[in-house]
Amino acid sequence: MELKEDQPQNGSGPAADVPPLRRIVVESETVPIRVGDYAGPPDPNYGREPWQVGAGSEGEPVWVEERMRTEDLSIAYGDKRAVKDVTIEVNSGEVLALIGPSGCGKTTLLRSLNRLVELTPAAKRTGRIILDDQSVDDFDVTQLRSRVGMLFQQPNPFPMSIFDNVAYGLRERGSKKPRKKILEPIVVDALERAGLWDEVSSNLSHPALALSGGQQQRLCIARSLAVSPEVLLLDEPCSALDPISTSIIEDTIVELKSEVAIVIVTHNLQQAARIADRVAFMYLGDMVEQGAAGQVFGAPREERTQDYVGGGFG
C-alpha cells in the first residue's frame, strides 16, 4: 500500500482554532481503499474525532475511511460531455471541495453521486460509482438518496412546519406515520447537529418558510441529517446567503465532517480554502488535479490549476 504523507496547510479561516492535524493522503489511482480498511500502523487515536487528532500525536497516522468513489465516470448531455473519465474518492472525516469555472461539470459530477442527474432526460452516464463497495445502480434509487443527502444553492424548506420538514424524510411514502413521539428524538438530534436547535426549539410547529435564509439552509441540513446519510453533497450551499449565515454554515460543515463524508461544490475559493481538507479542480469536464487543500492552493502541480487558483491566491 503506497501512502504519501502530506502536511496540510492549516491556519487559514475558521479551521485555525482546530489543532493542525497530520493526514495520510491515499493515492486513489494505485490503492483503492475499502470500507474499514486501516491506513497505517495501529492508531492510538481510534475512536477520537479527527480534530482531536493533533498536536499531541505528531507523526501518528489518521483513520481514513472511503465512502464513495467514481471510476472513469463520464456524463454526457446529448453530444456534450459534461464530465470526462473522472476518478475520485469521497472519504468520511474530511471535506472534499470541487472547484472550477462555471460549466466545468462539478455540479453534474455532484448530482451523479446520488443519481439526481438521471432526472435530466438527455443525461447519459458511463463508468462506475461505488458506495460502500456496491455500485450505486444496485441500490434502489430512493434508498441510495437517503444514504447520500444533498443540499442545494437556494434554501428550499417545504411549505410545512419546521418539525415536519425534518421528519419528512423519515416518513413512509408521504403518510403521516410514524407518530410524532417516535420521530421527536431524531428530529431534535438532527436540529442540534445542524446547529439550529437553540433557535427553533420553542417553535417547532411554525412554518419553515418564515425562517431567515441562513436558518432555512441549516434546516435543510437538519432535514438531510435526519435520514442519517453517509455522504452529504453540497451544491454551493452559501451562494444565496449573507456572510454571517455563510460562516455559521461553514462551521456546521466542519463540525459535521467527522460523522458524514462531505462533498462541496463552490465557486468561492476562499471558502474552499477555509473548510476543505481535499480539493479537486475541474476544467471543461476533466479532473485536472486533486489533492490536499494546501497542496492544490499552495503548490498546484498543473498549470491550469495554477491559472485558476492563482487569481485568488497568487
Binding site: L119, T142, M150, Q154, N156, F158, P159, Y168, G174, V227
Partner: protein
Amino acid sequence: MSIDVRTAAPGPRPGPGSDPTDPRPKPKPSMSAAAGISHETGWSVGDRVGLVAAWVCGISLCVVAASIVLFMAWKGIQFLHLDMLTTSPEASLDQSKTGGFLDPLVGTLLLTVIGIAFAVPTGVAIAVWLTEYGRPSGLARLVESGVEIVAGTPSIVLAIFGLLVFQQSFMGIFSFTAEGGAVFGRSFLTAGAMMALIALPLVIGSTREALNTIPRHVREASYALGKDKASTIRRVLLPSARSGIATGATLGMGRICGDTAIVVILLGASMQTTPESGFLGLFRGTGSTLTSYVYNNSPAGEGNAPDKAYAAAFVLLMIVILLNFVVSLIGKRNKPQWN
C-alpha cells in the same frame, strides 16, 4: 415655431443648461419643440393622447361596474324581502302568491357544489399530469388543446351536447326515466357534470400556474431525501399549490353560479326543486337556479315578474362578488416563496 421649453414649463429640478456654469450640453429647444417633445417628461403628443385615453377608459369601466352594482342594489333592495329567501316559488296568476326563490337559491348552491366536486379532482389531476409528467409531449399538446376547446366552447353548446349524451339510455341512472324507456337527461347531476366542464379549465389553469412557480430544486430536494415522485407530489407539490387550486376552484364556482344556458337546458323548466324517488333522488331530480329564475321572471321570460327578477339578480350578484372577494383573499394569503 420656436418655444423655449425651459421658460414655457419651468420644472422644480434644474435641468442641463439651466445653470450657465453647467458643463453639460444644452438642450436644443427649437428642434424638440417642433417635434412636439417636452423636456419635462419626454412624452410626445401621441403618447399624451394615449395616456389620457387610458385614464378615461379605466375610469369609465369603474363607472360601469359601480352603476351595475348600484342599480342592482337599488332595485334589489327595493323588491327584496327576507321571506323571498325562505319560501319556494309557486305557480299562480296572482303575483303576490308566487312565493320567493328559496329553491333557486338552494339549486344554485347545489349545482355549484356538484360542478366543483367534479371539476377540482379532475382538474388537479390533469394539471399535475401536464406539469409533472407531460409525456409523450404529443399527448400533452393534445390534452392542452382539449382543455382549450372545452374552455372556448359556448356553454349553450356544452348544454345541448350534454342533453345529447345524457339522454342515451345507458345514462338513465343520472336522471328520470319515463315509462317506455325514454331518458329525460335533465337533472342536477347532468347539469353539474356540464358545469364541471365550465370550471375545469379555470382549475387546470391556476393549478398549473401554481405548480410551475415551484422551483425545480424543491422537487429535487424531496427526491434527494429518498422520496419518489408520488409522495413528492402529494406531500410537497400539492400543499404548495393549495392556494392556486383554491383560486381556480373559487373562480370556477363564480362561473357556475352565473351560467344560464346549461341550467335552462339541462336542469328542467320547473322552478321548484323536484327530487326523484330512490337513491340520490335529489341529485337525479330537476330544479332551478337563480339564473334560470331571473330569466324566467324577467320580461323576456314567461313569468313577467321583473321585481322578483331584480331581487334574485341582486342576490346572485352578491354571491358572485363574495366569491371574487374570496379569490382575492386567497391570493393575498402568503403562498410559499422560494428564491
